[in-house]
């Protein structure tokens, strides 16, 4: 339970329309000037106080009743998005007790914390094989909405992979996130007859900038390339073996789409720069990639979508770039891949 003295009111909001709430004899409408006296959050056990305080701070800046309603909604959504509460409900009451202002409000959040440990099992059909994925998740590890998850997947082609992820909001801000991930994965490139197995770790920090989402990350991956068949072409065979990539990446993404998978409006603009080899490892290159996706509704349910991807890379050591670092055309379900079916592409 927390309570705090109401802060000085900031400039009030516009009043648009009436909103009537009947409590005792007072009539509230959207344009009433109010002051939030107390905010109480009930039902916490593991979650730490300072995290909740940070999420609820904006409530004290509300000047009119409408602002209070909207801020309450925002805070409720934030708490739900944190992934640690099963349910969040809000009660707005006039403030009581000593130190209560005439137009003061008490806001009470009733939260129910969710189960900390959960497990999942599902199947996924992806590149060239289906796989069974078993996962376990530990939510709210240290009380500030951190999450630890472990996934193990086993494919029909005997490939196995695992993924251990830990992420934590930085400074209690849910939009800023620090992620640490350790993984093992394998991918088969049937057209080029090789298979790449990667084991490594990624540390990244994501935060919202003025124009879009920015991410800085470091990856260290130990990759193993081996040929799938005895008839793999010699240039691919020459690249077989082990390599270590240690790279620093910066990603800028501005996403105004309404949905990630089948968007109906909005656009995505993504810019990626990768510098490998400057922090160790034995591959050295500079890579830049840009991606843009535009979606526009034409009429009724018809949506026009356009997706462009391009990139440039240069090897900074004397050797040419390895096959598993190169760009590959499309993916397995793309039309482009089917056209190249009968050539042994290097990409």
């Amino acid at each position: 339970m927390i309570s705090a003295r109401a802060k000085e009111a900031v400039a009030g909001g516009r009043s648009m329309g009436d909103h009537h709430v009947h409590t005792k004899e007072t009539v509230f409408d959207g344009s009433n000037f109010v002051k939030v006296d107390k905010v109480r959050v009930q039902g916490l056990s593991k979650t730490k106080n300072d995290f909740i305080v940070h999420q609820c701070k904006e409530l004290f800046g509300a000047a009119t009743f409408k602002d209070v309603i909207l801020s309450c909604n925002d805070v409720k959504q934030k708490l739900e998005r944190a992934g640690i509460f099963r349910s969040v409900s809000v009660i707005i009451d006039t403030s009581k007790g000593p130190g209560a202002h005439k137009d003061g409000l008490d806001i009470i959040f009733n939260v129910k914390e969710g189960k900390r440990l959960s497990a999942s099992a599902h199947t996924a059909v992806g590149n060239n094989e289906g796989s069974l994925v078993l996962g376990g998740k530990l939510a709210n590890v240290f009380g500030r909405a951190e999450m630890l998850s472990l996934e193990y997947s086993r494919g029909t082609r005997q490939s196995t992979g695992y993924n251990l992820t830990f992420f934590k909001p930085v400074s209690n801000e849910l939009t800023r996130r620090l992620t640490v991930r350790g993984f093992k994965s394998s991918a088969e490139y049937l057209l080029s007859s090789f298979r790449e197995t990667g084991r490594g770790a990624v540390v990244d920090y994501m935060f919202p900038g003025p124009l879009g989402l920015q991410t800085f990350s470091w990856e260290g991956i130990w990759r193993e390339v081996d040929c799938l068949t005895r008839t793999a072409s010699f240039p691919v065979r020459e690249q077989c073996g082990h390599s270590l990539k240690s790279s620093v990446k910066h990603i800028f993404a501005r996403d105004t789409r309404d949905e990630g998978v089948y968007p109906s409006r909005g656009y995505l603009f993504k810019l990626v720069q990768e510098f490998a080899g400057y922090t160790g490892g034995d591959v050295k290159f500079v890579k830049g990639e840009a991606e843009i996706q535009l979606n526009q509704r034409l009429f009724s349910d018809i949506i026009f979508s356009c997706h462009l991807q391009g990139g440039l890379m240069k090897s900074m050591s004397g050797d040419s770039v390895r096959i598993n670092d190169r760009f590959f055309l499309g993916g397995p379900t793309d039309v482009r891949e089917k056209l190249c079916k009968y050539s042994n592409t290097l990409g």
Partner: protein, 271 residues
Amino acid sequence: MRKTYSKMLQQSFIDFCLRNLQATGMDEEVELFQPFQKEQITLPEEAQCMAVKTLLHMCNLQFALRLRSNAEFMSPSGGVPFIKVGAQIVSEFDPIVEYLDLKGISLSQELSGAQRSEMKAYMALTINRFYNAEVFLSWYCEAIAEKITKPRYGAPYAWPLNKILPWYKQQEAKKYLKVQGWLEKSQDEVYEELKMACKALSDKLGDQYYFFLDRPSELDALVFGHLYSLLTFQLIDDKMADIVNSFPSLTRFVERIQDTYFAGAAAEENS
């Protein structure tokens, strides 16, 4: 998918054989791939590579030597060395001998049936005793493994791969020794096995120049490869070299082959 590839492979192999059955000599350049000689190669690999190089010299085949740090992973069977002739890749000593035989190049064409079976038996002896002893000494004896083999094997890689990869290889080598029952032997027993194998070879060679007739055969190439590596590869002590040196006929054999086939190469290295 496996069956299709196997059928494709069989068909292309048959086509290949039909085309080249009567041909002698090579139309295309032969390239030999092996790990880096000075810093990377380990004792068992060195012995095999030397054997193949000697074989090619004895067959009078010109070849280009290509040093690659990932030669072991490039090879289809995981063993070095391997040769590339056009689009064909053949790895390890026995398959290379068979391949050359199909091309009409053979060092043992004039041997009788009994001599050829003896040759195969002694080749099996060399592989079985010498190769296993080399793997045992390089990878299982902790002193040698930590000081020499592992640093060499991990030399081309950055940290931490230069620690992880030699460890994996050591586990593989231990498994190989375990399935053949060599893991239960002690180091002294292994030296004893080496000695008995050297004695057998020395008795077989006797005073002759080569093992069979007056011409080198595949057995000579294989034995030379292993003996030369045992004599020249630097381990922590000279026990191996001493064992070989205690059989003068073998040391003479090694010197003779070296002078005949590698004198030119040695001169190039020195100049």
